[in-house]
Symmetry: D2
Subunit: 97 residues, 4 copies
Amino acid sequence: MIIAELTITPLGEGTSVSKFVKEAFKAIRATGLKIELTPMSTVVEASSIDDIFRAVKLGEEAMLKLGAKRIIIDIKIDHRLDKDATMESKKRAVMEE
Amino acid sequence: MIIAELTITPLGEGTSVSKFVKEAFKAIRATGLKIELTPMSTVVEASSIDDIFRAVKLGEEAMLKLGAKRIIIDIKIDHRLDKDATMESKKRAVMEE
Amino acid sequence: MIIAELTITPLGEGTSVSKFVKEAFKAIRATGLKIELTPMSTVVEASSIDDIFRAVKLGEEAMLKLGAKRIIIDIKIDHRLDKDATMESKKRAVMEE
Amino acid sequence: MIIAELTITPLGEGTSVSKFVKEAFKAIRATGLKIELTPMSTVVEASSIDDIFRAVKLGEEAMLKLGAKRIIIDIKIDHRLDKDATMESKKRAVMEE
């Protein structure tokens, strides 16, 4: 699987942006992809980079609909081909003694 | 509080780096700061940026001790002064209906 | 315009990855988009997020062709709708006295 | 040398933040470290991670002085021990045919 960490931030909408982040999170969740909300981003697990990019665009569109005029998007993708890494296996590999 | 998302990656140690990430995670956890492991990073909550940077250096040192010869560090810091944001309050603000 | 900062890094190919980065850079340059190489990334200017994502995929494919088995992609996108920002206008705004 | 890519963004100061970025850039430049402005960040070359972190704090302080109430800091550090990489050598390695 391909795992990505997404942060979508509206600039110019005050210091509190949770109204925007909430709508973007809902749009990403609605894709049906496996996701995990963290205090700094949303982690997404997908079978293709296109699915990741589609989720990002849906998240951004949700913010644009709320009137955002400038959006900063941060995406970090971990694409592993030699092993089927998942969100769970990556965390387990760090936590296992 | 100041919240930071840290990813420390050794380059040149093969495709599987969990041995290194595990030691860095342990070093960061030993700081006693509140932390959360995600599939892509470790989120840390601290009262100063110096505490964040100290945790990063401890994590990197743990990898250097294992012999890493090149390390990529990604840090994203959310420093909010108008409200005492925490890891929990940031997630709650997104999850609340 | 939409401006993006791209860093594509192969994991597991030794500490020196310039052979991979060079091929990815050539593939991104071949898109014809306006680009700027920095010591840490390639900055790209495009009229749509799809163009940015297409350039990223071409860069990654170039590394996959060289045999990379794990690839970390970092993308930071600045999408401004209230003003036509360009790579030059963003730098000028910072450098102007 | 250690090379880092820094982006310091004030949240809540409108869509145009160049007034803040300019002051942060000046503060980082005043450290005397070798720097390069890109359309998305400032790249810094230093002999220690402490120098990088000091530059980041000076940049943030410049924005706080202007009244910023929430600041997002992105730092990507490339720390190579097996070779003395510089900003120039990294770019040359990609551009050389």
